[in-house]
Amino acid sequence: MGPAERRTAGPMFAALYGQLVPHTWRNPESERDAYLLFHQRSLAMGWLDDRSAGGGLEEAMVRAPGLWGMNDAGWEHPLAAPGAGLISWFQVEASAVADDRPLPVRPFLRCAEDATARVGQPELSAVQVLLPVQGLDASSRPPYAPVPSMLAVHWFAERDPSASIPVEITVNSGQDPTVAAVGHQLTDDLGQLDQDVFVVRSFAVTGQKDVPAAPLADAFWNGPPLHGVTLRGELAEWSCDAVGWCAEVLADLLAQLGLRSPLLLAVARV
């Protein structure tokens, strides 16, 4: 299936790492878990795509379009590396991406962070995202927005200039060698965008040993993480919003450079 035939972009996954200080008022035995909270938040904010529903009363209903369909979520994951500091994880099916919109990583991470913050105060050290780049069609982007996330870059202009923080971004395409092959071009393209949300200082081609272990089965995303690059630089602020923006931009740039497979991206404070 090519992007044009797909009803969705593909699975999107996020894992939040760091420390979570539970709210003192919350019953630790509460059954309102990451799954329920993420689903409820998605529904409330209009992000949940219900168009895949049918049957009975629901067969003929006009259903809400949205950014993703619910898959799964949790506080722990059986594939998480011991001691990695996983706080929460979320899996959705990203809806088909409009020509002038990015992959919805910013709202996805917003929803993930909101769900997590409902049970405690998160102090994030790293964010990992699986991006369905195979669902992007670079040729369909309008000429005024080849990287649609640039349409929303001015959001970050109104910020505390002292909030800038050094980060390391690992970008890995698994068994697909594309990312490592175009790493230099990627950093050039990123540098040519009129933005200072993420300023690249250096990059290096990296392999599996340099990639933080992800709670993902290889079959889920074309793993293991054999081919990638690590970008080091300054992020305008340490927030899921800024991380999500970077992820959206990198996904589009790599789609332009020919990537057609899922991309595993991790952003960590250094």
């Binding site: 969705t8 009975g56 009363l57 067969e59 899996q91 079959a219 074309n222």
Partner: protein, 204 residues
């Protein structure tokens, strides 16, 4: 391996399965294979040549094309299910039949079910969900059902049902996650709505 390569390998795997019609018939149930004798009769040369054997069309897991009409549902044995999967209910209160998209959850295809009160007032319901895989004969084949759980509304961790089945490969097929909610001590409507998704998982 690139995604297109993986998909191509999935197609090759399907072709291999299709070539082994006896195996596919046994796996997918008798109704998944049908002979097409009328097509053979229309060609008298073929009918009496060495290749005159009736063509056998073997149904295999596949993608339900947008707008395609469903032939219906079959159980694990290939029998057509006469049920209320998609009937329009006539009476009773209507609960919210909560479910998610069928999805890959290594190494399984998985789906959840839960309920909320909707127009019902009772506090407990029996909930289960089942996963159906689309085959190229147009039928949705039941591949897994959760146990029935008696749960409170809301869909929290202790109040969901889970159906899952181990994937045979990671080629794509269309799946439906149907959920059935039966409110305890209250008459409720009989629909079993679903969410549908294409998942990188085939089950034979």
């Amino acid at each position: 391996m690139s995604y297109p390569t993986r998909l191509a390998r999935g197609v090759a795997a399907l072709a291999a399965v299709a070539a082994t019609s006896l195996l596919a018939t046994a796996l997918a149930g008798p109704a998944a294979a049908s002979s097409d004798e009328s097509a053979g009769a229309a060609n008298s040369v073929d009918r009496y040549s060495a290749a005159a054997a009736p063509k056998v069309t073997v149904a295999v897991p596949g993608i339900a094309l947008r707008g395609a009409t469903s032939a219906g549902y079959k159980d694990e044995h290939g029998n057509v299910i006469q049920s209320s999967l998609t009937v329009v209910p006539l009476s009773g209160c209507t609960p919210v039949s909560g479910r998610d998209n069928p999805h890959y959850s290594s190494p399984d295809v998985s789906g959840h079910g839960w309920w909320d009160k909707g127009s019902c007032t009772a506090n407990l319901a029996d909930v289960y969900n089942c996963l159906y895989e689309y085959y190229t004969d147009g039928y949705w084949y039941r591949k897994a059902c959760s146990p029935t759980v008696r749960v409170y509304p809301g869909g929290g961790s202790a109040n969901r049902s889970t159906a899952r089945h181990t994937c045979a490969n990671t080629a794509y097929a269309s799946w439906r996650n149907h959920v059935d909610v039966n409110v305890v001590n209250q008459s409720d409507t009989a629909e079993q709505p679903y969410n549908q998704a294409d998942v990188a998982c085939q089950v034979f």
